[in-house]
Assembly symmetry: C2
Homo-oligomer: 97 residues x 2
């Protein structure tokens, strides 16, 4: 593996693990109101295309990084769906007379 | 430009413009509590490395996408800093006797 591959792998590792603290933050605070669905939705579609690009180039760092990033990005969306639902239910319950 | 380059450009366009709705959301709601500093910090460092990788490969879509993504990712951090400060000041004022 060349040194350029290593830079790509480190880059991919960072832009991938970056999603972990966001997912943990939502999990811990049970709140994701300020997190944009549009951001993570558009981002996920883009990641699918980066994956196709990496496969076409045979560029291993791009492929590996984007598979994991896709999983984490979809996880953030899933967590936001989950806790938005809870917030809504809680608000509904609070509104009961 | 090859069709692979076009896939890369579209991928880069999507993972880049994805940050725009997040920045707008923070700007409009003036709130970014649920947005993780760690996510956008680690992500920005990773983007700098992707930029180095793209330059090393001479891969134009990677270079263009990552320059713009870096600007937008740092913008999200700056907006969070700005509105966290406001929230803090407001809380301080509310706490006054």
């Amino acid at each position: 593996m060349t040194s350029v591959d290593w830079i790509g792998l480190l880059a991919g590792a960072l832009t991938t693990i970056a999603f972990v603290p966001q997912a943990i933050k939502i999990w811990v605070t049970k709140s994701a109101d300020d997190v944009s669905y549009l951001m993570f939705g558009i981002f996920s579609v883009g990641i699918v295309l980066w994956l196709a690009y990496g496969i076409a180039l045979g560029a291993m760092p791009i492929i590996v990084a984007n598979v994991v990033t896709l999983v984490l990005s979809v996880l953030v969306i899933a967590l936001k769906v989950r806790y938005s639902g809870r917030r809504w239910k809680r608000d509904q319950e609070t509104d009961l007379p």
